[in-house]
Amino acid sequence: MEVEGTAPGSTLMIMKKIVKQGWRPVLVVVLLLILWESSSRLFAIPAWLLPSPLTIMEEGLSSWSNYAHHLVSTTKLSILGFVIGTSIGLLIAILLHLMPRVRQAFYPLLILSQNIPIIVLAPLLIIWFGFGVLPKLFIITLVCFFPVAVAALDGFRQTNAEMKHYMYMAGASKWQVFSKLEFPHALPAVFSGLKISATYSVMGAVISEWLGANQGIGVYMTLAQSSFRTDRVFVAIFFIMLLCLLFFSLIIVLEKFCIKGRAEQEAKS
């Protein structure tokens, strides 16, 4: 019968929780960095083999203006690819769910699409579409749509049978059952898919840039690698991780905002 914290109260609680529990992972990362730094000094590892964290940080700070435009370009590409890919994924899931026979026919194809090695596909795409933005978006879309489509399809199917039964008894149409019950019911699953896609989108962008582009973190990385600037490679890795993390947290914030009434329930169990 008790009423647990209302919405604004609970977000504050979550913030406190993050601060309270956040020191553990931070401590681990700091310890690892110290270990790395001291070992590279102790064993005098050459910088082209494995630069020390401080060297990498120095490079990252001093040549910011050299790679800032690469960063912007990759961010834009990932976001655009993510939006297109996940929209297509969600759309495919909805269509396949509402048409079970089509679903049976196309589901294997959906899985097969994930078995195409991107490294093999990319040169083909470049032959077909050139070096522009189109083949890159194609690659990101291909890696992004799948997690969302599968998660949403499963989410739709796992709708609570009793609620569905109520809807049918109350005379709901198929579309009403979908829009009022199945879709909101599947939102947590959709968000799990979105989180995976968010990290994939950055990877997809970087991979697509390796294969031919004039700017982007992928290009910066290839250039750095071919001139043995290992420190720059690490700078690129750092920013890729940062970008992934940023996207991921953005999705979590959006999730908190969209999924009502269930967050606390799930936190309890």
Partner: protein, 245 residues
Amino acid sequence: MSELKVSEVSKSFGEKKVLQSVSFSVKEGEFVSLLGPSGSGKSTLFHLIGGLFTPDEGDLCLGGENINGKRGRISYTPQNPSLFPWRTVLDNVVLGEELHAKPNKERARTMLERAGLAEYVNAYPHQLSGGMRQRAAFVRSLLSPQPFICLDEPFSALDEFTRLDMQKWLLSIWEENRKSVLFVTHNIEEAIFLSDRVLVLSSNPATVKQEFTIPFERPRREELVLTEEFLKWKKQIYHELRGEE
């Protein structure tokens, strides 16, 4: 126009005959209970009335219209409240209405107040107790536009005390509206206490074995359950149900 007439309805699933020429009626503004052991085909009967299945033989008529296989003609309170966890209580109780028309939230608010849920209008279902959730589910079917309500063992998951409170509450709310009610239960006392008539179902296949008209006056009080008269009815129905005498 909310008289339900079930005439000679039979239904089988494969080889198994579940309903065998079931006939009964629920008059306008009447409260009728279907009493039967678990697995006696009560749910199947509800699914037929709800239009999820069509009968193999016989007809279901509501207000003079044949409703065989027609969904959405009744409003329904399931055994499990089935409230949507992402909707507030207010948004949940207007769901039944929302499926057919634009919901009237003011009316819903008033109804929730009368159901003792005024404080919980904007709460989510997981913040409510079991009894409150079941009350919200009943308010949802009261707010639905259909004049005929089917309740499928709505109190079976509640403890004894809550159950009695809920029965009294149900009667008090019902007496204000007097929609026709078909109430399914396996609890004899519950059936006698609530109903104008009690229909006893046999099982395998189900058919209406006996009909009892309960003479107690309304509004009914809790003490009624302890009177000799009440006990006499209980014994009689009990024997009928067990197939003795």
